[in-house]
């Protein structure tokens, strides 16, 4: 989650998630940061999979995207299956020891 290590970028991300969906113009209007700086931060967030964009006419709207959170899901899915299998192994092992 390096993309969120920068405080300015993090605050932009939080404003996007708070708003649901917001245009670059609105992000800039309520910010002390220039529009080009905001665009750079949005690019980083988009590359990290944390936000998605939707062009509408001359405006571009941004919304939070869960894709950037997949590392969490992947590890948890992996270990969720892993531990279930291991509990079954443990049942079998204890039975083996008991039978021996």
């Amino acid at each position: 989650m390096r993309a969120l290590a920068d405080p300015t970028r993090r605050s932009i991300f939080e404003r996007i998630t708070d708003a649901g969906e917001i245009s670059v113009a609105d992000l800039t209007r309520e910010s002390s940061v220039t529009q080009s700086a905001i665009s750079q931060h949005l690019k980083t967030l988009r590359q990290a999979g944390l936000v998605a964009e939707r062009p509408e006419g001359r405006k571009v709207f941004y919304r939070a995207s869960p894709d950037g959170l997949e590392p969490l899901v992947d590890w948890m899915t992996h270990y969720g299956v892993f531990w279930r299998e291991r509990f079954l192994n443990l049942h079998a092992l204890l039975k083996d020891i008991d039978d021996a």
Partner: protein, 154 residues
């Protein structure tokens, strides 16, 4: 990156089951390296002593060689056993991404055996309560998966 600078939320995997043996027997299976090798994975350098560091070899990904680095953090005989579970590489996403988690086993004597509760905690995601609400599709998916994983048995 400071913990205080980022708002973190962590997720955990919880599994619970009753094993039809006394806590002493289950405890032995958890804390003997030779038995651990038979139900979990073969540990390298393991001793059930607080501060002990040991490793497991798992499937590599990208620049990560697959080594899980562990450190025993709690040993309460027949009751509680916990170790850190770390691995991954910052260059990876998904499986193989940076991982700094905690595995905790809690044993409770119950009628007919031992209730064993596993909590694998510390899967980190940026915290923002509004984000949880607004990332609706993705989070429904996540929560759905967690509900499945956390399904209790026994």
């Amino acid at each position: 990156m400071h913990d205080t600078a980022l708002k973190f939320a962590t997720q955990e995997i919880v599994l619970e089951d009753v094993f039809p043996y006394p806590p002493e027997t289950v405890w032995h299976a958890l804390t003997s390296g030779a038995l651990m090798a038979r139900w979990l994975m073969p540990p390298a350098g393991f001793e059930p002593v607080v501060g002990n560091r040991f490793t497991f070899s798992t499937t590599p990904a990208g620049e990560w060689d697959g080594t899980i680095r562990c450190e025993v953090v709690e040993v309460v005989p027949h009751k509680r056993f916990a170790w850190r579970w770390c691995g991954g590489h910052e260059g990876n996403s998904g499986y193989g991404s940076l991982l700094d988690t905690l595995v905790t086993f809690t044993l409770t004597a119950v009628d007919g055996g031992t209730r064993l509760r596993l909590v694998h905690s510390g899967f980190v995601t940026p915290r923002n309560d509004f984000a949880y609400q607004n990332m609706s599709n993705g989070w429904v998916k996540v929560v759905g998966a967690l509900g499945f994983l956390a399904g209790e048995e026994g």
